[in-house]
Amino acid sequence: MRSIYSLLLLLSVFVLGACSHSRHPDSLWYDPNNPGYEYAPAMYHSYPYEPLTQVTNENATSWYYNSTPYNDYKGKYKSNSLTPVAGTIARGKLDYYFEYENNDSGRAMAARNLVNPIELNDYTLNEGKRLFNLYCDHCHGEKGDGNGSLVEAGKIPTPGEYYGKLKDREAGSIFHTITYGKGIMGSHASQLSPEQRWLIVNWVQIMQHGAEAYKIASMSEYEALTAPAQSETPEMESVQDTTAVEEVMEAVDSTNQMVEGEI
């Protein structure tokens, strides 16, 4: 009988040990919704409003309850998201202010007036390429052929090739489109700073040179690609000189001046 007795003892220790508390996903106690225990809530929770926490229990102690009544929902919902005070621009964010209107005439104005402030060099070229492949490639495709992963999956209609329908889009127009969106493309202004948008504009304009342009990784390769087509550049500049903004506005009204098939 002694052997059974010791067997029982061993068994219960084993079973109870296995049943004891553990946060491991294989444990009996594992509850994916349970965040566990805190040891010092006063040190855990922030006095200032934290944007990503929404502690909605008002009965919690003062350091724990963390939700502003002055939020975007006027206290109706508990959230800490706040839009900037109307009519103000945060320090250092002046370039977020974009004076062109979100319509066709605004886009045409931007196309005429805006000049890409970022000088093209090896670093900006690759940075633009990297940002493009983070923020644009799932629709526009890594190659700029309008055949990204979402287009291939049939989720989003193709925006077209950069070296096809969108070949002649000016820098300012591309910047306007990234800022406001166009057609089904949404505004990416909340995701990209103006500087990042200009870097992407650079890269998009490189891809306008042809189907192989996406392979470029340095300035020397870019110059080699654009060398035969150099005669085009002065032509474009002369057009810009002769056409005044008023004329552009008229042209926009008579619609046929509009760039075809843009997204």
Binding site: V13, G17, S22, P32, Y39, L52, H138, T255, M258
Partner: protein
């Protein structure tokens, strides 16, 4: 003969197709291609998008000539002052502008119209998903309980078996020794008798109390130890979210980069949870998902105040109350920007393979030892101006120590060579273990 057969069969198929469809099948197929290439950017069949819903367009336009003119040159068609066009423009021009002229021929327009007329809405996906969605969250939990109870059951059965066999054997021994043959009781009765005998005759009450108390205290100690170990740690936390957003689908299957939505990761302390406007970059078009149909996507629309039938924003918004998973205490300062930009770390380093997660789970421990370990092990790329300028003294001191130990190497190993090839500089050498680096 074969050729004749194939020709006649293909003829037959062609006739069947012609009889079956009022419009030639080839036309509609070509029209689909043309529609996707030329119209798909602004029009989607079945609902309005940037432009109006085109289903039934040929029945709405009385003058087919004018429709062709409109598609090829909207400016010219507008100039005719047709009342239907005026009405259309009054509705659409303010928000979408005038349609762009399309470079298509009359025959191609007919193909496109044939495609639109033949188009039928796809079957809703909701039905096949319900079976899938049930019991999603708690699978591991339920399975664990099941497995454990099966094991327990087996153990109890084995115990009963052992006791029964033992009773049988003792009975046989009793018979062999010529003792009177007891009446044969059932196995359960034998088991109960054995246990009764065990508890009443062989069990010492003190021993019993000690045993039960011992087992309980062993359990308590293990349990308390485990709880203390997990105090303040959230590893394995995988809460249900208000919207069943699947990273496996978005980041895994569709290959959308983490930063597309978590834009702050290179710019600020937080990697930020995207606000609903970023969802809308795709979900104005994609209104139904493969698993939950429109159920989950409509929650985004409710949050941002979007009317999917008209494509307008109502202006009535409310927050999506995402449940925060990764949460460092307020007394620790952690910046994503520094780790991603300067440290050049991938998201997977700390967050695990989120691309495979249906529900996001905290993979890393996020305790201090975990941070410190990485700071001790991660090598720093010192070959740049910042470190040459600010850590020059550290490099020189180390070099002097090295020369003290190896005086003969003075000409062989120079300072530049030393820091590159003879010593590994980790984050801890650059002050990565100082308390106030993170606690301030």
């Amino acid at each position: 003969m074969n050729r004749l057969l194939s020709v006649s069969s293909s003829l037959l198929i062609a006739i069947i197709l012609l009889l079956g469809h009022p419009v030639k099948a080839a036309d509609a197929a070509n029209g689909e291609k043309l529609f996707k290439a030329n119209c798909g950017a602004c029009h989607i069949l079945g609902r309005p998008m940037t432009g109006p819903n085109l289903v039934g367009v040929s029945s709405r336009w009385e003058d087919k000539e004018l429709l062709h003119t409109w598609i090829k040159n909207p400016g010219k068609a507008k100039a005719t002052g047709d009342p239907y066009i005026t009405q259309l423009l009054a509705e659409w021009e303010p928000k979408s502008g005038l349609m762009a002229a399309q470079a298509v021929s009359d025959a191609e327009i007919d193909d496109i119209l044939a495609y639109i007329d033949n188009w039928a809405p796809p079957a809703p996906v909701q039905d096949q998903t319900t079976a899938d969605t049930q019991g999603e969250g708690g699978v591991t939990y339920d399975e664990n309980i099941m497995i454990l109870s099966v094991i327990l059951l087996i153990l109890v059965l084995v115990l009963g078996l052992v006791l029964t066999i033992r009773a049988r054997i003792s009975k046989i021994i009793a018979a062999q020794e010529g003792l009177p043959d007891a009446e044969k009781p059932g196995p359960i009765k034998v088991l109960i008798d054995e246990l009764k005998d065990f508890v009443v005759n062989q069990m010492n009450p003190t021993l019993l109390v000690l045993t039960v108390g011992g087992i309980l205290s062993i359990f308590l100690v293990i349990d308390l130890y485990n709880r203390a170990q997990d105090l303040g740690l959230q590893q394995g936390y995988a809460p249900d979210q208000p919207i069943k957003f699947s990273h496996k689908l978005h980041a895994g299957q569709y290959g959308i980069d983490c930063q597309y939505c978590h834009t702050g990761v290179e710019k600020s302390k937080n990697a930020n949870i995207p606000s609903s406007n970023i969802c809308m970059n795709c979900h104005t078009v994609v209104q139904s998902g493969p698993k939950y149909g429109t159920e989950e996507i409509s929650k985004i629309y409710a949050a941002i105040g979007y009317d999917a039938t008209t494509g307008n924003y109502t202006g009535e918004t409310k927050p999506v109350e995402w449940v925060r998973i990764h949460n460092l205490p307020d007394h620790v300062y952690f910046s994503h920007k520094q780790h991603v930009v300067a440290g050049n770390l991938d998201c997977e380093n700390c967050h695990g393979n989120v691309r495979e997660m249906e529900v996001v789970e905290q993979v890393s421990l996020l305790e201090m030892g975990w941070c410190i370990n990485c700071h001790r092990e991660t090598e720093v790329v010192i070959d740049n101006n910042y470190y040459q300028e600010h850590f020059h003294q550290v490099f020189e001191d180390d070099y002097a120590k090295y020369l003290e130990k190896n005086p003969d190497k003075k000409d062989e190993v120079k300072l530049g060579d030393f820091i590159k090839n003879h010593k590994k500089y980790t984050v801890s050498d650059m002050g990565g273990l100082e308390c106030q680096r993170c606690h301030y």
